[in-house]
């Protein structure tokens, strides 16, 4: 089993905490990093774009964030993707059950799925199960 690198991009520190705890229960997750907004995550990815090991395999991306929200992040990230030597799966994670947000997410190919908070252990397992 390949070790998996996971990024959690969310301004909600409680969520960051709970996701951290949840991910620890999965041994295949080698590393779980947290970012408070899209800009922080993007900065990191841009800086480490040539080091595939530093880059995530999975990003859990929140929609509502200050400075750069999830959709704004995706705009920049889509431009960045072809340069990266790694397949990165982005999961949009939001407490919003607003169909508008869901629709908008579906239009972006780079988004693998749309998940609704709170994420349960089964949800995370399902996501991780695609990496074997």
């Amino acid at each position: 089993m390949k070790p998996i690198n996971v990024f959690v991009v969310d301004d909600d520190d409680i969520y960051q905490f709970t996701m951290g705890v949840a991910l620890k229960n999965f041994p295949e997750v080698k590393l779980a990093s947290t970012f408070s907004d899209g800009a922080e995550a993007l900065d990191y990815i841009t800086t480490n774009q040539n080091e595939p090991d530093s880059l995530p395999d999975i990003i859990f991306l929140d929609i509502n964030m200050p400075v750069m929200d999830g959709f704004q992040f995706m705009e920049e990230f889509v431009d960045l993707l072809p340069k990266l030597e790694k397949t990165i799966k982005v999961y949009l994670v939001s407490s919003s059950i607003d169909p508008k947000d869901l629709k908008k997410a579906k239009r972006i190919d780079a988004i693998t799925d749309y998940l609704i908070k709170p994420l349960k252990s089964e949800d995370i397992r399902e996501v991780l199960s695609h990496f074997d």
């Binding site: 909600d12 409680i14 969520y15 905490f17 709970t18 996701m19 705890v21 949840a22 408070s36 907004d37 929609i63 509502n64 200050p66 400075v67 929200d69 704004q72 939001s94 407490s95 919003s96 059950i97 607003d98 908070k117 709170p118 994420l119 349960k120 252990s121």
Partner: protein
Amino acid sequence: MKNLGQSTGTRELFEKTAKIGRIGVYELNTISSEIYWSDITREITEVPNEFVPKLDNIEFFFKEGSCRDKAKQAVQDALTKGKPFDLDMEVVTANGNQRFVRNIGYPKFENGSCVTIFGILQDITDRKRTRFELARKNQLLSFAESISKIGHWKWNAVNGEVIWSDSLYEIYGHPKEENLSYEVYLSYIHKDDRPCVENKINEAIDNGIYEDLTYRIQLRDGSIKTIKSTGVVKTTDGATLEMLGTCQDISEQITREQELVKKNQQLTFAEELAKIGYWEWDVVNDHLSWSDNMYRIFDMEVGTPLGIENVVAAIHPDDRDMFRAHAEEFIAEKKFRKFMHRVIYNDGTTRTLELFGEVIMDNVGNVIKMVGITQDITEQRMSEIKFRGLLDSAPDTMVIVDQKGTIQLINKQAEKMFGYKSTELVNQHVSILVPNRLWDTMEYHAKIFFKDPKHTSLPTDLDFFVHNKSGFQIPVQIVISPLETSEGLLVSIAIRDITEQKQSAHRILETNKSLIASAKRLKAQNRQLEEFNHITSHNLRSPVSNLSALLTIYKTEKDPNIKEALIEKMESVTNHLTWTLDTLVESLVIKNKTEQSLEKTFFENTLQRTKEMLAAEILNTKAIIKHDFSEVPSIMYNKIYLESIFLNLISNSLKYKAEDRIPEILVKSKITDGKTQLEFKDNGLGIDLNKNGHKLFGFSKVFHRNKDAKGVGLFLTKAQIDAMGGKIWAESEPGVGTSFFINF
């Protein structure tokens, strides 16, 4: 006398005879030149007794001139040639009287010479005068005959002799030199009339009575004359002796009569055609004379004798009093005015008559007579009534004017619309119905119409008004049409009250407006609902999901220290949830507060209070806050909202100040597009509106990594401004600053 040498007896006898016959005797002795005049001679010449006639003084008795010369010549011829004479001559007596005398003289010759002239002098004055008189009368008669075209005739039935007067020759055009006879007379009579005339004359001969005859004659030149003949028959023992009488040329009279008859017929015909009757009313004797047609108009027998009450009786019962009143009025006012009344015919039909006339006064000004005509105007009246009916049944107000704009006729609807009676408007100018400000418009359209009179609708957007008697203005739509009549071009103006249309249009407009407003409100509500939906789906769900996640961890966690930490985190989430709910409730309160208390609020005061509330931050940041409320110093607004708006925007500016410079804030009020506008301008961080514009006033939206940022201030500010019907937007440049604009 003794020289005459005749016996006294003979002379006496002669003298006596001469005296009775008023014959004077004279004797001239040529030898002794003695002249003897008998008493009669002296009487005729009216000489005194002592007068002694001599050769040299008697010639003066003969009228001077041809008469005297003739006398002298005669005497001379008698003396020298022994020629007797017999002369009628005029004598001037010693007293100066004129007399006619017959002077007969016989010269007596002895030895070849005249010795004496013996003569008589007869006074023939009376005879002569009678003859003159007769001649003069004959002349007059002939003149009269000729003037009156009368001639007289005489026919001797025994020997057939016919005698005509000169003028009769003239009338018949018969030459005087030609013979006359009964046959000749008959030949002149028009062949159509000849048998009749012969008959009559034969009857006259038989009966001895000559009846007046009128017949035509044809002259030799072909012309025809009409002759009226009168006559008497003279008989002896039943046998006709002669007939005499007159013939008068009455051709002219006949022609005139015929012409008169013709004219009368024409007049009657005209009267009948025009249904006109002529009347004369002798007011004093109450006698009426009517033309024949007048009787017909009244359906009365021609010639019925009439007084005013006979006429009244023929009049329609409802019109009788009016008729009498008019008659009395005309007499009192000495003036006739045309008027109408009805009559009822024997068959029950009613006719309408109109009277025109004038009054005739005596020299002291009393009305003695009225004359005039009466016309049966039933047909006109009927068509008028029909037209009126048509006019009154029209749904629109109709006003009919002449070319000068004088009102001729209006319908019932017009009376209703304008509040005038028909009599008040007829003969008034149509501008009485139009407000002054629209007279130019009216004249302009009238001009266009008269250039080419045809059915014309005035433009619907003309915004034309009429005003009624009380000055109330009514919006109308107008259609004008030409109306050809016998009295020239009239104009019918149809006026439609479009108040209701206008009101409907206005209502539709208002409805539309309120619909737009409703739509706007609904849209706003929709947006708010969406917003709320978003808030509940995200801002409420996220702390709940956090709690759920924390609880899951808590259940599986064994370490009591970590468990404690989890409880703390749960508390924090719960607090956040509570705050979120409070804020949402607050925003709902703002949105649903429909009745905000407005009061006059000075911007400067509000700014001052804001500064006081933010005193610490201002001091820490060393912020410079400027203002300019000179253009609009105050506003009617909800005071608390205004303070909240100031507080939010200024604290935002302070919160998101640029790190490298001292914050500068300018608050300015002005009027833009008629609305009060407030601008908050700072030199802070600025926001990329291209990226974040749509989220600027959202709930819990933050754009900076600032610890205090909760994303609620602008959300509530917008809620407050929206609730007051205003608008808020921003202009910003990242790194330079932000301006918030508020339209109240």
